[in-house]
Symmetry: C2
DNA sequence: CTCAATGGTATCTTTTGGATACTGGACACT
DNA sequence: AGTGTCCAGTATCCAAAAGATACCATTGAG
């Protein structure tokens, strides 16, 4: 009923759960999507994503590198140049992430409308 | 280049960004996937997901309800019965989420292997 | 009068994320 | 020599979110 594989996100302690939850880190999807078009340097990534602080971006990138989703290449020039790019595995996530992204962009009006109704239902305080 | 729609997750302050980031809340995907098979009561959801505390589950559910992704139905019996089920909009997310889930379950071995290599590269301390 | 079932809150601690300032190495300019 | 710039991050400190655990309200059964 669940799936016949060896791993299942609904099993507590299964590594797949932690992996899926990491994909839902606040910045992970944006980082991966930002790299969809090719390698980017640290500062370019930062600019492209916007609003992310260097500390958090660094730790997001480290985790993704550690998990094999992206590659970090240091070029010893001056000043030092660091490029980040998706690995093969990382690229295999782009499809699903693109879908989530499109869904989010398409459903903005609906979600905003739902919020308005919800709030109106919650506070029947005026007239 | 980015997309011709009105909303874009790469634009800072665009509601679609916040919506996408919410989809990546720690428990949101699990909640939505858990409801894929039909309505569940609060305690059943808790059991099915496992490891989520009531406080966090409540707030996750409230947000999803507020955004119109799921419906909360209270039946006044004793003790009270509360059912949660996906809305039409919520169901439209199941495809992408299923994809993310499958990816996570399929790539467990690869990710674990990558972590091992990464750690070995980082600490060349023993023999 | 007590107990159990359900769907949560309340409170406190720990973890994660954010703001902001700073480091370090190599050149380039003055 | 001294100062400034570029880049890729750290360091430090503070705020927001998640987790552990205990508790509450309703009410029907015993």
């Amino acid at each position: 009923m669940e799936s016949d594989r060896d791993f299942n996100v609904f099993v507590q302690g299964c590594p797949s759960r932690e992996i899926m939850q990491r994909l839902g880190d606040k910045w992970t999807p944006l980082v991966l999507l930002a790299l969809a078009g090719g390698p980017l340097r640290f500062s370019a990534l930062r600019q492209r994503i916007g609003a992310v602080t260097p500390k958090v971006l660094t730790s997001t990138l480290r985790t993704l590198e550690r998990d094999g989703l992206l590659l970090r290449t240091v070029t010893a020039q001056v000043p030092v140049r660091v490029d980040y790019e998706l690995s093969e595995v990382g690229r295999s996530l782009l499809g699903p992430l693109e879908a989530i992204r499109l869904w989010s962009e398409e459903h903005v009006p609906g979600v905003l409308r739902a919020r308005g109704e919800f709030d109106r239902r919650s506070e029947p305080s005026e007239s």
